[in-house]
Every structure is written in structure tokens, then in C-alpha cells.
Symmetry: C2
Amino acid sequence: MNAGASGARDRVLDTAERLFAERGPDAVSVRDITNAAGVNLAAINYHFGSKQALIAAVFERRMRPLTEARLRALDGVEAVAGDQPPKLEAVLDALFRPAVEQALDPARGGGTFAKLMARCLIEPNAVVEQTIRSDFETVVKRFDAALMRAMPGLTADDVFWRRHWLIGALHHSLLMLGRKPPGGRRLPLDIESYAERFVAFAAAGFRAVLPGESRKRSQAK
Amino acid sequence: MNAGASGARDRVLDTAERLFAERGPDAVSVRDITNAAGVNLAAINYHFGSKQALIAAVFERRMRPLTEARLRALDGVEAVAGDQPPKLEAVLDALFRPAVEQALDPARGGGTFAKLMARCLIEPNAVVEQTIRSDFETVVKRFDAALMRAMPGLTADDVFWRRHWLIGALHHSLLMLGRKPPGGRRLPLDIESYAERFVAFAAAGFRAVLPGESRKRSQAK
DNA sequence: GTCTATAACTAGATAGAC
DNA sequence: GTCTATCTAGTTATAGAC
């Protein structure tokens, strides 16, 4: 939008993202942000209009690319599968790997982004509700459909709950990035191995035979 | 403490818990609480000393019984197992069922409690940090030890991550209590069936053969 | 124990000079 | 585009009457 001026705007975005992740948007004042960013108090209202609009901008900047990466990955998986049901692991990989990659990449928010996402899942903040939830629902809809094709024996309810549980597991674990866990452990090694481990875990949970559905599944196939 | 006076104190606790869960502690003022509870503005400072102390009291009231229920359940599982390794499903049931029960029981906070717990897992609030985290670490320590006995082929890291993922999955799902999920679904049926489904899912994830550990496990047994 | 009044402070937003 | 000064409204906490 602005030809070359205002690195101020970006500095505000970066600083706000960091502070929001540390303390939560509500606990951070516009004064905290402008001071830390080294810009004037009025800058936030000038560039974004209001604090609420700034919050929305911070979330959107990270959510949009994640959504796109997930959908692109799923496109690839479905293209490979063709008419056949896609492979369960491949679908889960398309869903989870982009998030792991983003959460481990400082250039795209890193752990900060992970905390923001986790927070947005529980925070009833109206802004967050609209900017993020809509993106997320698109993702969920397409992936649930793909998961049902990958696991034709499962009911829609089964798919919903297992995917839901796993989203919770992922976000909770990304949250621990950079934070010292109780046992003194650390987020492991590299993106590759972490995503791989998580997908293997997820696939096993997805293939679990639950008390009620065992009969239905064996009939369905 | 007080012989029979001050139902005000309890009304404040209940109201604060509800409002905290709805909007988050930071977004709720003491005026909001005292107005909604029908007590005087000064009541919170009189009964609790400060807003921070009230927050701590609200969290503690629900966390304590949950911790005790979990440890009691684990005691039972270990007593049954005797010298043998405990059954994986039994350990997971002891860890997760008390939380599900509490989250579905209005008398013990219900969905409100679930939201509070979820919030405390990400909120860097100092009060929450100390009152809850310490309880939670006791639980985690004892259960990780039991899980290692139940799954002797897994490394400590494996147990840590799988338990961690599942705690995230549980809390994320409890969070949806009373909230309309995207697909129009609802938390199912009854405690019994939900806990059962979750434990089955958890056990499958726990038994997953991860890329790196497959060889180690088959040797260990 | 309960309440009113108010102190002491901080919030987000903006008007207007530069 | 940037800054200072300021406005209005909200916050927690408390002093002191009842």
C-alpha cells in the first residue's frame, strides 16, 4: 500500500505479535507496543485504526499463509490419489506439517505464532473469532471430507472427534515451543522428525477401534 | 472459616468462575463480578484481598479435587496391578476420566471449569502459574512413571510426548463443551461413552509404532 | 459485614502542531 | 507521516460511615 515509507507499520506488527503471545492481547496496552516498537503512541491508531484492528491484522498475517499451505498440500495429496481414497498418513501430513513448519520458522512467527493460534482457539475475542475461525473452518471442512474418504469405515462423528482431538494435541504441543516443559525436555531435533512422529501418532489414533464402532467398521469394508 | 455468614463469598466465586471462563480473567472487572453476583463492589477486596487472589481462589477450588481424583484413581490401578505392569487403558482412564467427569458435572464447574483449565495451560498469568502448575506437575510425574511401566518398550521421551499430546487433545475437546462446533455436532451422549472413546483413542496413539522407535520396542519386549 | 465515595491510576483514542 | 498533549472512560483498591 505505502510506497516505501513506514517500516513503522511492520515494526508494530512484529512487536505486537511478540507481546500478544507473551501476555495475551488484553494484557498488552497500545503504549506497551509503541514503546517497545520505538514508534509513537499515535502510530497504532494511525496505521490500523484501533487496537482491535491491530489484533486482527496480527492474526491474519500468520493465519492466511498457513491455511493456504494446508490446502495446497491437500490438493497435492488428492491429485496423487486420483479416484482412489487418499492415504491416511498423507492427509494427516498435509494437515499438520504446515503448522509444525510455521511454528518452527522464526521468519513466520515461530513459537509466537503457535501461542497466538492456541490462544485464538479458546479466546472468545470477537475479532479473532471472525478473522481466524472462518479460515479454519474452510480447512476443517475439506480435510474432514478427505479423511472420510481415507477411512471409509468411520462415521462422520468418528472423523470429527478424532480430527478434533488431534488438532488439540498439535496446538498444545506447539505451545510448548521455547517453553521449559516440566521434565526438562525440549521440542525435539528438527521439523522433519517431529512432524513424522506426530503424524504416526495421529494415524494410529485415527485407526483405533472404538468401543461402539468396531462392528460397523468391519461390516463397511 | 466463617460460621454461616457470607454466602457472598461463594456467590462471588461462582460468578467469577463463570465470567472468567466466558471472557478471560483479564477482561472481567471486579465491578462486573460484584454486579453480577449481587454483592457490593468492596466485597472482593474484603473477602479475597485482591482481584489476583480471587483468580487464584477460583482456579484452586476446581484444580485441587481433580488432582486428588486422578491420584486416587491411579492408586487403585496400581493396587490392582500389584507387581505387574499396569494395563495401559487403566492408567489412561485414571488420567482422563476424572477430567471428563468434572467437565460434565455442573456442580463442579462443568464446561466452565474446562475452559478455565484450558486457559491456564496457555495463560502466562503468574497466579495461575503457581496455583495450578504445581498440582499438575505432581500428576504428570506419577502418571508418566505409571505409563512407562505400562509400556516398557517406550523411551521416556516417547511417553512424555504422547502423554503431552493427549493432554492437549483432552483439554481442547473439553473446551468445546457447550460451544457449537463448526459442523453442528455436540459433545456426545454421556460421560461414560465419551471417556471410553477417548481412552480407546489415546491407547491406540500410545501403542503407535513411531518411525524411530519401532526397532527398539520389538527388542525390548 | 456492608456500603458509598473517592483516590490513584491506566486504558484507548484523537486533535492539532509540525 | 510523526509527534505531543489531552480527553473521556474505565480500572483496582481503600477509607470511613453505618
